[in-house]
C-alpha cells in the first residue's frame, strides 16, 4: 500500500476529513482520475483504494478490513452524497464510467446494498441520469447476471413489497428511463417462475405494472438495444438481452401454475405487439433462440414431475393447451418478423417433444415448409 508522495499527500488530506464528508472529496478525485484524458494502471489502483477507504468505508488507513461496517445513518449520508454527485455529473460517459467503477464486477457483491438503495432512490426521485448509469451497468455486467438479478430483486422488494401503493413511481419509470426499464425487466424475468423457489410468482403490483408498461409502449422491450450506452474509452459495449423471452416464459408457464389469467393475457398480447414492432435487422438480435428453448425444458420438467403426470395423461387439459397455444403463437409471430437468432432447428426439435397441440403443429409444419425459404436463420 505504498505509493508516490502525491498519492500519500492526497490520502493524508482526505483522512483529515471526517467520514462520510471525505467521500465527497474522494469522489471528485476519483472522477478526475478515471475520466482524465490519459489513464493508467496506477491511477486506476489509486481510485480503487480511494473508493474502498473513503467512500465505501471498507478498509482502514492501513488496508485492513473495517469492522463493523457503517451504520444505517452513515449509509444514508453516503447515499445522499453519491446521489448528488452522480446526478450532477453533466457528461454521461463520465457518469457511466464512475458508476461502473464504483460497482465493478469484483466489488459489487459487497456494495450491492448501497447500489440497490442508490438506484431505488433514483427511481423514487427520479433521476434519469443515474438510471441510465444503472442501466449501462446492468448491461455491461449482463442484465441476467446474478448481480443484475439481485439488484432487480432489491428494487422489487422496495417498490412492490415495502411500498405497494407507490405504483405511480413505477408507472412513470418506463417513461423516465425506458432503457433502464428494459434491462430491469430482463433481470426481473429471471427472478420468477423458477420451480421450487420460495416466491415463484411475481407480486400482483409488479405484474400489473409490467403489463401496463409493455402495453403502453410496444418499443419498451427493445429500448435498451436501441440506445447505445456511453462507455469509458476502450470499453466494449455489451449487447442487452431483451426481456421478451423471459416475460414470454412467464406467460406460457402461468396457466400451468393456475395463476390469475387475465393479466397474463394482457401482458402476453403486449409482448406479441412488441415483437411485431421489432425493427427488421439482419442478423436478428431481439430474441435468443436458447431463451425460448428454456421454456420447452421447463414445460417438459413440469410435465415429467410425477405431481403433474395426470395432466399429461389427459392431454386435453385446457391450461396446458393454453400454455402451448401461447408458446406456438409467440414463436410464429417472432419468426414472422425475423426476430429470433440462434439455431432454430434446436428449438423445433424441442417442440416435437411437447404434447400435441394443433397450433404448434401448424407452426412446426410452417417452419419445415419454409426451411431454406425466405426466413433467414443465423
Amino acid at each position: 500500500m505504498s505509493g508516490s508522495s502525491s498519492e500519500v499527500n492526497l490520502k493524508q488530506t482526505l483522512r483529515k476529513l471526517e467520514y462520510p464528508l471525505c467521500a465527497q472529496e474522494a469522489l471528485k478525485k476519483i472522477a478526475e482520475l478515471l475520466c482524465a484524458r490519459v489513464t493508467n494502471i496506477k491511477s486506476m489502483d489509486l481510485s480503487l483504494d480511494l473508493m474502498a477507504e473513503f467512500i465505501f468505508y471498507e478498509l482502514d488507513r492501513r488496508g485492513n478490513k473495517r469492522c463493523p461496517a457503517m451504520s444505517s445513518l452513515v449509509e444514508l449520508q453516503l447515499l445522499q452524497i453519491l446521489y448528488e454527485f452522480l446526478n450532477n455529473i453533466p457528461n454521461e460517459a463520465s457518469r457511466n464510467t464512475l458508476f461502473l467503477n464504483l460497482f465493478s464486477p469484483i466489488t459489487v457483491n459487497n456494495r450491492l446494498g448501497v447500489l440497490s438503495k442508490l438506484v431505488s432512490l433514483a427511481i423514487g426521485i427520479p433521476s434519469r441520469s443515474i438510471l441510465i448509469a444503472a442501466s449501462t451497468w446492468m448491461q455491461q455486467l449482463g442484465n441476467t447476471s446474478p448481480s443484475s438479478c439481485k439488484l432487480a430483486e432489491a428494487l422489487v422488494f422496495d417498490y412492490a413489497h415495502l411500498t405497494p401503493n407507490t405504483d405511480d413511481k413505477l408507472k412513470n419509470l418506463s417513461e423516465v428511463a425506458p432503457e433502464f426499464t428494459a434491462n430491469f425487466l430482463t433481470a426481473i424475468a429471471e427472478n420468477y417462475f423458477i420451480p421450487n423457489k420460495e416466491s415463484m410468482l411475481p407480486p400482483d403490483v409488479l405484474l400489473k405494472c409490467i403489463s401496463d408498461w409493455v402495453t403502453d409502449n410496444s418499443k419498451l422491450c427493445i429500448s435498451a438495444q436501441q440506445r447505445q450506452a456511453l462507455l469509458p474509452p476502450g470499453a466494449i459495449a455489451m449487447e442487452a438481452t431483451t426481456p421478451i423471452a423471459g416475460l414470454l416464459r412467464w406467460c406460457v408457464l402461468a396457466p400451468l401454475y393456475q395463476h390469475e389469467q387475465q393479466i397474463y393475457s394482457k401482458l402476453y398480447l403486449a409482448l406479441l405487439n412488441s415483437i411485431m414492432e421489432i425493427p427488421r435487422v439482419n442478423p436478428p438480435r431481439a430474441i435468443n433462440v436458447q431463451h425460448l428453448t428454456v421454456i420447452i425444458q421447463q414445460l417438459l420438467q413440469y410435465l415429467q414431475d410425477p405431481k403433474n403426470k395426470e395432466l399429461l395423461a389427459s392431454g386435453t387439459n385446457a391450461m396446458l393447451q393454453l400454455a402451448l397455444d401461447r408458446f406456438g403463437q409467440a414463436i410464429q409471430v417472432a419468426l414472422s418478423v425475423n426476430a429470433v437468432y440462434g439455431h432454430l432447428d434446436e428449438l423445433f426439435n424441442g417442440l416435437n417433444h411437447l404434447p400435441n397441440n394443433r397450433l404448434l403443429n401448424i407452426v412446426i409444419k410452417r417452419y419445415n415448409d419454409s426451411k431454406g425459404g425466405p426466413i433467414l436463420i443465423v
Partner: protein, 643 residues
Amino acid sequence: MEVHLEQLDEDYVIQRAKESLKIDPYAAKAWMLTAKSLYPNNFRVQFDAYLIEKAAGNVKEAAKCFSDLISKFPQVTELWKEIEKVTAALRSETDSEEPENHFLCEMFKHISSEVQHKLLLFTADHCDDTMEHCRLLLLLLQRFPTAISSYGPRLVDTLMSAEKYGLDDNNCPINPYRKLLVCELLPLLAKKEIKLELTSKLLLKLLNKALEYYLCSLGKSNLTLQDKESSIETIWNKLFSVLEFIGRQLNWESQLINFTINWSKETYWQKLISYTQLKQRNVLYDDKQLLFCLPVFFLHCLYEYANSLVPEHCPGQILTPHYLVEAFIDPSLPNSLPEPKCKKRKGETDSTNPYITVEKQEFKSMQTNFLMCVNCWDLITSSETLHREFMKIHLHLNVDSWLSLFVVDHALYKGRYDEAIACLQKITDSNLLLQKYLRLAGIFYVKKNYSTCLEPILLALNLLPTNNFGNLSNNLVIGGNQRHLHFLPITRMAILQYLVKILLRCVKENMVKHDYSELSIGHIFVLVQLDWPQEEDFVPSLLEEIKKHRSFQYHLFHNYIINVDIMEELMYLWTPEGGQINLEIVPNLGSQRRISTRGADKGAKEELRQAIRRQVARSNEKLDELLVNFLQNERPLILQSLV
C-alpha cells in the same frame, strides 16, 4: 403429425380468434396476430382479421389491417366493397349518425396519409361511374391539398366533358357535374397557396361556367321567394370570389376583382369608369376583364334593383311588388321635389331625365338601384363590342326576367316609348301581364293615343290584385314641368287610382276635340271621385262649361256619381242663384218632361231632389267598386269620349 381433414388450418386459427373474442379479447387479438403472421398472403385470413377488429370497434388495429389489405390485395372484389363503404362514409361524414360510418371515418383518420391518398385515387380510378369518380377525386383533393395542382386540372377537364357528354339536357347549368365543378372544385383551386397551370382559355371558360351556375341558382331561388336572403347573399359572394380567383390568375386589374374590402357599388362604379377611361388611352389593354367585370357588376346591380322592387315586408303581410310607370305632373302645383343635383353632376347631361318618385322614403333604394343599373346599361350599350359580348353572355344566363323588365324601365326613363311598347308587347308571361297593361296605358296616354288607352286599362282592371288592397298613392302627381316616373305598388287601390287618373286625363285632354261633350264632363265627374279632393281642380272649369251651355245631360249620373261636393255644385247650378241650369241627370225624367204638362214640372223638380237625396245616401259606398263597375260596364260610352 395429425391431419385435420375437417377444418383447414387457417380456418382453425381464425375460428379460435373468433371464439376467444367473447371470453378474452387479449387472447383473441393474439390469435389474430398469429393468423396474420401465419397467412400473410391469404386474403381471407387478413380480411377476417380486419372484420374482427372492426366488430370489436378497435379503430387503430382495424386501420392497420385495412392498410395492409390495401397494399397486399388491391384487386380483391370483397376489399373493394369495403373500400366503397369507407369512401361512402367519408362523403357522408358530416351527417353520419350511423355507427359503422362513424367507425369507418375514424379508421380512415388512422390510416397513413400515403395509404389514404392511394385509397382515394385507386377508388376513383376503379370507378365506372363518372360522377362517382369525380366525387372521389374531389374527396382526395379536399383531404390532400398537395394533390390539387396535379389532379385539379384533370378533374376540371373530366367534369367539363362529363357535363358536355354525360347529360341528356346539357343546356341547364344547374346539373350535378357543374355543381361539383363550381361549388366544390373551384374553391379548392382558388386556395391561395395552390400553384395552378391553367390556360387563360380554360380559366375564362371556368368563369363562364361559374357565372352561369350561380346566376341560374339566383333565378331559381327567386321563384321560391325571398326567405333565403342570406343564401342569395352567399351566392353573390361566391360568384365574386370566383371572379376574384380567375381574375387573379389572369392578372386582371386588382381593383376590378376586389369585391370584399370596403366595397360599395358607388366606389366600384367609379373604378369601372376610370378603368374604361384608361382603356381608351391604351388600346392594348386586355378588355376581357371589362367584358366580365362590367356584366357581373351590372347583373349584381340589376339583381339588387329587381330585389328592391319587392321590398321586405312584415311577417304575415303580402309582398307588394313595385313597377316603374309613367306618372303625372301638374304645372300649377309648386315643384315640391328637391333638385336631384348629384345625379346631374355625374355627367348625365340629359336634362330631360325624368324625376323618379317612390311611395315612401324607405323605398328610395328602388330609385338609386335603378339609376346605377341605368349607368351600367348605358356603358354597356355605349360600345358595340361590349353590348354584343354582353348579349352573348346573357344568352347563356338565366336572367332574362330581370333584364327584360329593366329594358322597359330603361326605355321609359329615356323616353323611348316606341321601344318600350315593343318590349312590353312581347310579354306573354301571365304574371307580368298586369304590369304590361299598366305601363302600356301610361305610355299611350303620354303619346296622346287616348282611344288606344282604354284597352290596356280594361285589361289591367281584370287583373287587379284581389288579396292586396293597399292605399291610394300620394305621389302620382307632382308639380313642375319635368317628366315624372313613379314606382307604383301593385295593390288594388294604387293601380285603380293610376288607371283612373290616366283615363281621367285622357278624357279631359280629348275634350278639346269636341265642342261641348256632356258625356265627357259626366265621365270626369265620375272619375275624379276616387282621388277626391286631390282631383278637385278638374271640376271648376267643367262647371263653367256647363254654365256656358246652360244644360247638362248625363244619364249615368244616378249610377256613378255619389260625391256630395260634386252634387252640391250641380244642384247649385240648378238653383236660380246658380243660373237655373237644366240638369238631365235623373233617369226617365227627361222623357217624362217632354210629354208632361207644365204642372208636372214641379213634380219633376221634386223627383230630381229625391234623386239627389238618394245619391247622397249612397255617398258612403265603396268608390273602388263603383269605379270598377263604371269602367267595366260603360266601355262604349267611355270610348265615345276618347275618340
